[in-house]
Symmetry: C2
Subunit: 168 residues, 2 copies
């Protein structure tokens, strides 16, 4: 038997590890981008949001008596995923990077959706409210990326066809 | 200089590898689930759709003179990701599995969104139409999963708190 509150604490730790990986991935992507200023600006904007989200999640963990130093199961898998997504140097990295950022945002959306339901079930309204503050920021970033993947792809194809540096 | 058509063919190969990994992941998840019949039924339904999608993508690749046997860069990364998602045996695998399936669906959504834009740019209306047939199936599965993540999470917490097998 495991109390729902213990699961909430575990999932918050996963969320904290996730936000740390998001930070790494966004920094790596922003640092490499050269020819896609609009994408770079949106990533930088979301990077700031991500640092705020880390703080919000850490506060929830501390309030519940936990520590952010323990990385849960998901941590290692996320690390590998975000590392691959942030360090991609393939010929079409701008397109794959935008796709992977969108995927990562959706990991965050699903994780906070589960956390909101779990926190509600425990009557932990502070954790619920904290996750509800974060969720719309992830949704906005995911939406922006999905809307811009067509133009990023088309611009990439155009640059690549004309012999310009296209990938970043 | 790379012609847009070559990129479309590369991305179709990535999509084919992705659908093969989706098949593996869905099969593994469905095979393990015991106490979540609604989730299992939806996964099985999407598994059938996935086999149809593989065929559609393979036909596009063949029409463009390519072969599905060559796995592109993304293949290896996807394989590791889907393997991790399908083989998760952690204590909360049903919740993490639903989250990972949702994430994978969004990878498919983003990939077909890029492909539709690229195929349109090349005037390859057959590939564009093929991807437009697949996209709504991925969107429907993603939507279903996101809508059910709260109830799956709550049911998991309830089973776990009452000492029943909860994780699968």
């Amino acid at each position: 038997m495991t109390e729902p509150k213990e699961h909430v604490l575990d999932w918050l730790r996963d969320a904290h590890a996730m936000e740390q990986q998001a930070e790494q991935m966004l920094k790596a992507q922003s640092g490499r981008l050269k020819h896609y200023p609009q994408l770079k600006a949106r990533i930088d904007q979301h990077l700031e949001g991500t640092l705020g989200q880390q703080k919000i999640v850490a506060e929830c963990i501390e309030r519940l008596g936990g520590s952010t130093s323990t990385v849960k199961d998901l941590g290692g898998k996320l690390m590998a995923f975000a590392h691959a997504a942030g360090g991609m140097t393939m010929t079409d990295e701008v397109v794959k990077g935008a796709i992977m950022s969108y995927v990562f945002e959706n990991l965050e959306i699903a994780s906070y959706t589960a956390l909101i339901a779990a926190a509600k079930r425990c009557g932990d309204l502070e954790t619920k409210a904290a996750c509800e503050r974060i969720l719309p920021q992830e949704q906005a970033m995911a939406q922006w990326l999905l809307e811009h993947i067509p133009s990023i792809s088309t611009e990439y194809l155009q640059r690549s066809a004309s012999g310009q540096e296209a990938k970043k």
